[in-house]
């Protein structure tokens, strides 16, 4: 290939500033990385990095604080919304976000997320739904699909015994304190762009003090799904999308006219 003359070029995309230039511990192709990047891009665009405090959770994203270039704390499994509440109440003028997996957020942490939402806690939650417990090696999560095989539902999730998956966004959207709750997906460029817009909206919600904001992101776990990264995006599209519709479940009226 011909060598490129960079002089005549403009940078269309580069590593976001809010993300450190570091090797992640994520498995190849895991869309946790995409979510990280989008959050960093949005914080860059909104110029919020210097006033942001992140709350990492327990799951594959436990080391999120190694990658984001702002203050961070690390919460016990499921308790990130409570910790974020503590942080935000002390620093109401700062931007506080939690980054949580599905096991963390809607299994062990059901109480904390529900009450943060009910209180209209002015924080932003990035919720990574990959239909299993990634970090501990792929056990069933509350989000695991009916029939899906995991290391703790080896014959496929039997809803009669193990119960039905929870549609978290739909559930939390019933709460008055919720300002912005939507579901997006990370499986292809179009949906990733939509996800980024939603993340932007969520932080706008917080900046405007409109209450609790959460973006649920359907995400891949190639390793525990035993699929290649590319196959994993297809699995997501074919299996998760029908069960977890991408939609806006709660949008504060004051947000309706915003557009980016």
């Amino acid at each position: 290939m011909a060598t490129t003359n960079f002089e005549n070029m403009q940078v269309i995309y580069q590593h976001p500033e809010s993300l450190l230039d570091k090797n992640t511990h994520y498995c190849p192709g895991c869309t946790h990385g995409v979510a990280h990047r989008l959050v960093a891009e949005v914080l860059d665009e909104m110029n919020l990095r210097d006033k942001t405090i992140g709350v990492a959770s327990v799951g594959c994203s436990v080391f999120a604080y190694n990658y984001f270039d702002f203050d961070f704390v690390e919460a016990p499994h499921g308790r990130a919304p409570a910790m974020a509440t503590g942080v935000k109440r002390v620093h109401p003028d700062k931007i506080v976000l939690t980054y949580q997996g599905d096991g963390d957020l809607i299994s062990i942490g059901t109480g904390e997320i529900t009450h943060a939402a009910a209180r209209g806690e002015n924080i932003t939650v990035i919720f990574i739904n990959n239909a299993n417990y990634g970090m501990t090696g792929g056990q069933m999560a509350p989000t695991t699909l009916p029939g899906q095989k995991t290391t703790s539902s080896p014959k496929g999730r039997d809803v009669e015994q193990a119960g039905y998956p929870i549609r978290t966004s739909e559930m939390l959207a019933t709460l008055d304190g919720a300002g912005y709750i939507v579901r997006r997906s990370l499986h292809d460029p179009k949906h990733i762009r939509q996800a980024k817009k939603a993340i932007r909206m969520a932080f706008e919600t917080q900046v405007r003090g409109l209450g609790f904001s959460m973006v649920e992101l359907l995400s891949t776990c190639p390793t525990n799904w035993h699929l290649s990264p590319v196959e994993a995006t297809h699995w997501l599209e074919e299996n998760m999308l029908p069960f977890y519709p991408l939609d806006d479940f709660k949008v504060h009226p004051a947000l309706k006219n915003l557009n980016f």
């Binding site: 942001t52 436990v62 961070f72 308790r79 910790m83 974020a84 620093h91 700062k94």
Partner: protein, 374 residues
């Protein structure tokens, strides 16, 4: 000096407010609830943070967040709530952020009852959450003492970046006594350098965490915690002595049990029995040097508690078998009357000290009789 009548739970709340408490998170539970209720109007009036959490798990993790954020922060609870906070406490210890917990102990185990007890001693002093760490545990015996201690706890917690637990029992939480409130301190305006308070573009980011995936890193943290604990053992011993100058033997009791013992010791003194009272205030670190030193002067220790003999183990450990130890305790929310302690003091004075078997076994045999007779 203006002394005013204060209910214990409200007094400690006000003392914390005056010590510059910035953020309180709690959940109702008897016999602690008045502290939460007091905070629910007092803090908002002062423009500070009050929040009733959805649970004790919520409360301790909000405290964890607020502590990481750099605020003076606390929670109050009672026994079952303390159990629920164990994971959070372990994280807070591992992250080395300062916080204050007041546990107003009630009868247990289980749902138990709401009467005054000291049965959380093992959980708080000997146990705690998972992993290697020690919280400072202070056990005041009166409302003034509780006020003074709570007032100091934030400074102590921040000095060592550690957890300070004030262990009361239902009796101290519920009773009223006169207390002089310390002056109102200004609320801190700057955030500690280590806090997660956002960089403001002015410094490197702060990361506060308790995960150390490489055991060698974890061990370094453990070592740091242990060395801090050595400092604490050196600096933070507190206790009070009564009639000890010429005592031939000593009653040892903390908190309300210590108070009840004081009445008994006074009565015994009135009868000419040369007994004193040693009342530990810091039960963690425990005044073990002092106890050891006393073994040279005393014929024996008589430990009194409102539990099954939990501090007893610390006295036995500290006294290294050098002198006999006797025990008397009531459990499950029963508060002993001074008369019960006095009876034992008289007996020890008259019959002397025998050492066969374990003091706990001797006591259990006796207690069974007492319970059957009552």
């Amino acid at each position: 000096m203006t002394r005013e009548l204060w209910k214990g739970n409200e007094a400690i709340a006000e003392a914390a407010v005056r010590a510059g408490l910035q953020a309180y998170f709690g959940y109702p539970i008897t016999p602690q609830t008045e502290a939460l209720e007091y905070m629910s109007w007092r803090l908002p009036d002062l423009g500070r943070v009050f929040l009733q959490a959805e649970s004790e798990l919520g409360a301790i993790n909000m405290v964890y967040g607020a502590a990481c954020a750099g605020a003076r922060t606390m929670t109050t609870t009672s026994s079952p709530g303390t159990s629920l906070m164990m994971e959070g406490l372990s994280y807070i210890a591992g992250t080395e952020v300062p916080m204050v917990l007041v546990d107003v102990v009630r009868g247990g185990p289980g749902l138990g009852n709401i009467a005054p007890a000291q049965g959380d001693y093992n959980q708080i002093v000997h146990g705690g959450g998972h992993g290697d760490y020690h919280p400072i545990v202070l056990a005041p015996a009166s409302i003034q003492e509780a006020v003074d201690i709570v007032y100091q706890t934030f400074d102590i917690a921040e000095k060592y970046r550690t957890i300070v637990i004030v262990m009361l029992d239902g009796s101290i939480g519920q009773m009223m006594e006169p207390a002089e409130m310390p002056p109102m301190q200004e609320v801190r305006k700057v955030w500690p350098a280590w806090s997660a308070s956002s960089t403001q573009g002015k410094r490197e980011r702060n990361v506060l965490t308790s995960i150390y995936l490489d055991p060698k890193d974890m061990e370094k943290t453990n070592l740091r915690l242990m060395k801090t604990w050595q400092q604490i053992e050196k600096n933070e011993i507190r206790y009070k002595e009564y009639f000890m100058d010429d005592a031939k033997f000593a009653v040892v009791g903390f908190g309300s049990a210590g108070r009840v013992a004081l009445s008994a010791v006074r009565a015994a003194r009135a009868e000419g029995i040369p007994v004193g009272l040693f009342r530990p205030i810091s039960v963690n670190p425990f005044p073990k040097q002092q106890i050891l030193a006393l073994t040279d002067k005393m014929d024996g220790f008589f430990v009194v508690e409102m539990n099954s003999g939990m501090m007893l183990d610390d006295v036995l450990l500290a006294s290294q078998g050098r002198i006999p130890v006797e025990f008397y305790g009531r459990m499950g929310g029963v508060m002993p009357f001074p008369d019960e302690i006095l009876r034992e003091i008289r007996r020890l004075h008259a019959e002397g000290w025998k050492a066969e078997g374990h003091p706990r076994d001797r006591w259990l045999a006796k207690l069974e009789q007492i319970i059957n007779e009552e």
